[in-house]
C-alpha cells in the first residue's frame, strides 16, 4: 500500500482483518478457530466488483471486443454497474445499465454520478419483464457491447489472479474460504486458486435467499445457472435468508466495528456455521470470508435499525446482495 499511478491501479490489495470477538471460543489448549474478513469495500468504488470490472474491460480491450468510444451495455443490480461505470469513465467508454426498479436509491444515484445511463425494467414483471426490456434494447442498438459477467471467464480470472493470491499471502494457514454466490466469479476464481495451493481447503458458498417476488419465475424451466459455475470447485453451499443476513450484518458492526452490506452478513452466517463446527470438533480453522461492500448503499432500506421483523419486511422484494 503506497502510491498508485491511477485509481485503476489501486484495485485489490485489500486488508484481511481478524475478528477476535466473533471467532468461536475454544477450550484452553484446543486448536484455535479464527475468523478473518477480507475487506473488499476498500476497493476504488467500494465493492469486490471492481476486480471483475477491471479484468473484463481489460480483456475485452486486448481481444478487440471493445474499441475506444464504444457503448457498454450491462444488466446489473448494482455493484458491477458502479464498478464498470468507474472503469468505463477512466478508459473512455459509455455505459448503459439495465436494472430492476427495486434496487436502492443510493445505487442509482451513484451510477449517475459516475456517468452511467440507466434503463429500468419494471420490478413487478420480474425476470420475464427484464428479459423483454433487454431484448428490446438489444434489438434497437445492435452495436452496443456486452461484457456478460455471468459467463465471462475474465470475471473468475480476476479472483484467480488477485483475490486468491492475496489471501494465501496474508493467511498461509487458511483452511476455509467463504464467499457469496451470484455470478459465481469470486468463488470459482479464488476457489480454484486456493484448491491448487492449499491441500484440504474448503470452499464454501453463501447464496442469498430472496422472497419469491424478486425472482418472478413462472416455472422451474425459467431457472438459470451462470455459465461460470462449476460445482466441483465448492465443498459446501448454504442458502441464507434475509433474517439471518440482517442479524449477522448487525453483529458485524456491533461486535467488530465493520459496517457492511447485507450480502456480507449472509456470508458471515455461513462462515460462523463452519467455524463453530470446527470448534466443536476440536479442529484448527482459519476461516476467511469476503466483506463484499460497505453498508452505505443500503442505509435507505431502513434495515439497519428496528427489530429483525421490521428489517425483514423492509428488505422484502429487494435485491439486497
Amino acid at each position: 500500500m503506497a502510491r498508485y499511478e491511477s485509481l485503476l491501479d489501486a484495485c485489490g490489495g485489500t486488508p484481511l482483518v481478524g475478528l477476535p470477538r466473533l471467532s468461536p471460543a475454544v477450550p484452553e489448549g484446543a486448536p484455535p478457530v479464527r475468523l478473518w474478513a477480507k475487506l473488499e469495500d476498500r476497493n476504488p468504488t467500494g465493492s469486490i466488483k471492481d476486480r471483475a470490472a477491471l479484468f473484463m474491460v481489460r480483456e475485452a480491450e486486448e481481444s478487440g471486443h471493445l474499441r475506444p468510444g464504444d457503448t457498454i451495455l450491462e444488466p446489473t443490480s448494482g455493484n458491477t454497474g458502479i464498478a464498470l461505470a468507474m472503469v468505463a469513465k477512466l478508459r473512455g467508454y459509455r455505459l448503459v445499465c439495465v436494472m430492476p426498479e427495486n434496487v436502492s436509491a443510493e445505487r442509482t444515484q451513484l451510477l449517475r454520478m459516475y456517468g452511467a445511463e440507466i434503463i429500468f425494467s419494471p420490478a413487478a414483471g420480474g425476470s420475464n419483464q427484464a428479459v423483454a426490456t433487454a431484448k428490446q434494447i438489444a434489438a434497437e442498438h445492435p452495436d452496443w457491447k456486452m461484457l456478460f459477467q455471468y459467463g465471462n471467464p475474465a470475471n473468475a480470472r480476476a479472483h484467480y489472479e488477485t483475490t486468491g493470491p492475496e489471501l494465501l499471502h496474508d493467511l498461509p494457514t487458511i483452511t476455509h474460504f467463504v464467499a457469496g454466490l451470484g455470478t459465481t466469479g469470486t468463488l470459482m476464481g479464488t476457489g480454484r486458486f486456493l484448491r491448487e495451493k492449499v491441500e484440504g481447503i474448503q470452499i464454501i458458498a453463501a447464496e442469498p435467499r430472496y422472497g419469491e417476488l424478486v425472482y418472478g419465475l413462472r416455472n422451474i424451466d425459467e431457472g438459470y445457472v451462470p455459465e461460470l459455475y462449476d460445482a466441483s470447485v465448492l465443498t459446501r453451499r448454504f442458502s441464507v435468508g434475509t433474517r439471518d443476513a440482517v442479524l449477522r450484518t448487525r453483529q458485524l458492526i456491533e461486535v467488530e466495528g465493520i459496517f457492511a452490506g447485507f450480502s456480507s452478513g449472509a456470508i458471515l452466517h455461513a462462515a460462523l456455521a463452519v467455524a463453530h463446527e470446527a470448534a466443536k470438533e476440536g479442529r484448527r480453522a482459519d476461516v476467511a470470508f469476503v466483506v463484499c461492500d460497505g453498508g452505505w448503499k443500503y442505509l435507505s432500506t431502513g434495515a439497519y435499525g428496528g427489530t429483525l421483523n421490521d428489517a425483514e419486511e423492509a428488505l422484502e422484494g429487494q435485491l439486497w446482495a
Binding site: M146, Y150, Y215, L217, Y224, P226
Partner: protein, 105 residues
C-alpha cells in the same frame, strides 16, 4: 414429528396451494417419494426422467444445498427443515436480462 418441506410458489399447484407440507423418510429420495404419494406429480418436477435432481431445482436441508450432501442420497431426519427453490443467480433480474441479450445476438 415430521420433516417440514417448504414449497416454492411455482410448485404449489401440486400441494393444493400449501406453502409448507410435511413428509417422512430417511433419505431425500424416500422423502420425495413420500411427498409424491400425497401430492401427485411433485416428484416429476424435481427429478429428471434419468433419475437425477432437475438442473434448475435446488433443495436445501437446514439451509445447506443437498448436492454437497449426497444429492438424492442425502440423509434426512425428523425435525429437519427442507427448502425447495428454483435455481437462480444472485441479482436474479440482471442475469435474465443478460442471458436474453446474448441469446438475441
Amino acid at each position: 414429528m415430521a420433516i417440514e418441506v417448504r414449497v416454492p410458489t411455482i410448485l404449489r399447484s401440486y400441494t393444493g396451494g400449501a406453502k409448507i407440507v410435511e413428509g417422512a423418510g430417511d433419505t431425500l429420495t424416500a422423502l420425495i417419494d413420500d411427498l409424491d404419494a400425497k401430492h401427485s406429480g411433485l416428484k416429476g418436477r424435481l427429478i429428471t426422467p434419468e433419475g437425477g435432481l432437475h438442473r434448475f431445482v435446488n433443495i436445501y436441508v437446514n439451509d445447506e444445498d443437498v448436492r454437497f450432501l449426497g444429492a438424492l442420497d442425502a440423509k434426512v431426519k425428523d425435525g429437519d427443515s427442507i427448502t425447495i427453490l428454483p435455481a437462480v443467480a444472485g441479482g436474479a433480474l440482471g442475469f435474465a436480462a443478460a442471458a436474453a441479450l446474448l441469446g438475441s445476438r
